[in-house]
């Protein structure tokens, strides 16, 4: 298991890159020109997140420096210690289904505070990548077509988020500790 996952991590990007390049060459498209054309959007995409990320980072920074986070995690502590889950992960697990930019800000905060190669840092990164913002997706997708009654969709989305959180904790502990 450990071997498979670490090998997959190292090979995923090089394999995908060579597949794209070889396929592009085989189809005789001007790969470099197409690359630069697509790459143009990268700058704009990154810049477009600035307002959301700054807004969220400010709120999280104020919240964290006040000591409110410690109060919150104090309540969960006995339970978390029993399952050996780091307390710093709780705000991320709670925010992940609600706001994408908010949870990205929390993830960045965790990585900045504890280091990218710490257990919490790896866990936060895995958790952030494993699920999507359920409430945002639900609002945007159903809102676009005017569906009011979402049936069981929210339940399924939130349950999947919870499974994603548990699976992240399980796999990160298995691989990295």
């Amino acid at each position: 298991m450990y071997e498979v996952i670490t090998t997959a991590s190292v090979w995923a990007i090089p394999l995908l890159l060579s597949t794209i390049l070889i396929y592009g060459m085989a189809k005789k498209i001007p790969v470099f020109e197409v690359f630069t054309e697509g790459a143009k959007d990268g700058f704009g995409t990154a810049i477009r997140i600035i307002p959301t990320l700054v807004g969220m980072m400010v709120a999280i920074s104020i919240f964290r420096s006040s000591g409110a986070l410690d109060l919150l995690t104090q309540w969960f502590k006995p339970l978390l210690q029993y399952f050996q889950i780091p307390v710093d992960i709780i705000p991320l697990a709670l925010l992940r289904p609600i706001t994408g930019a908010g949870s990205l800000a929390v993830t960045t905060d965790i990585i900045a505070t504890h280091g990218p190669d710490s257990f919490v840092g790896r866990l936060a990164a895995t958790m952030q990548g494993a699920t999507d913002t359920t409430l945002y997706v639900l609002t945007v997708y159903f809102g676009a077509v005017g569906v009011r009654n979402s049936k069981y969709a929210l339940k399924v989305g939130l349950a999947a988020d919870l499974v994603g959180v548990i699976a992240s904790i399980f796999i990160v502990r298995l691989i990295f500790s």
Binding site: G42, I49, S66, I98, G115, P116, Q128, V145
Partner: protein, 197 residues
């Protein structure tokens, strides 16, 4: 929803700071947060530029549509109520492949298009159909092959091996997506039974 959370985070932070006698920390924390926000976005420029360039090659060369052909049987299984040649199917396939390649910005418009097409098949426009719920389940727990943003942030903070979380993320995302599909199928069957009985 986001509005409430944002305001709550700031106000609770200010109040607790006051109680803890750390009110002077508030403005400093605010400026530091803003600074981190901007520096993270600048760190994202490099990898996003590179990745979107590569993805453009995948799109132009037809690799993206190839992926859609491979996904076709899966989509037929997941969306039995959608007719084979209905335009909704095409959008669902584009949405799925964009999600897998981590192209969130491309996935959302395709997903919305798919929803609009599914709405045309909907007998009651105010209520979600099973197919709509399945599409939503797929998107809320989207399978991601390469979590580009996270890798960029790890690079920013000098990780010794920024990509080492690709495998763990893939594992967790697959488990989450599988359980989303299973739960969706379960509720679908239960709702259908209720209607019969």
């Amino acid at each position: 929803m986001v509005n409430y959370i944002w305001v709550a985070l700031i106000l609770i932070g200010i109040i607790v700071s006051g109680i803890n006698g750390k009110i002077d920390h508030v403005s400093q924390a605010a400026f530091e947060g803003a600074k981190t926000g901007v520096s993270v976005c600048f760190g994202l420029i490099s990898i996003l530029t590179f990745w979107l360039g590569m993805m453009k090659i995948a799109e132009e060369s037809g690799l993206l549509s190839k992926l859609q052909t491979w996904l076709n049987p899966i989509a037929r299984f997941l969306f039995p109520s959608v007719p084979k040649d209905h335009p909704a199917m095409g959008y669902i396939l584009s949405n799925m492949s964009a999600n897998i390649l981590g192209l969130g910005n491309a996935a959302t418009p395709m997903g919305i298009k798919a929803m609009e097409e599914l709405q045309k098949l909907n007998p009651d426009p105010k209520t979600a159909t099973p197919a709509m719920c399945t599409l939503l389940a797929l998107n809320t727990s989207s399978i991601t092959l390469i979590p580009t943003t996270i890798i960029a942030i790890r690079m920013n903070y000098n990780s010794t091996n920024p990509v080492e979380i690709v495998g763990t993320t893939l594992f967790a995302t697959m488990i989450a997506t599988c359980s989303a599909i299973l739960l969706d199928k379960y509720y679908q069957r239960r709702t259908w039974k209720h209607r019969k009985g």
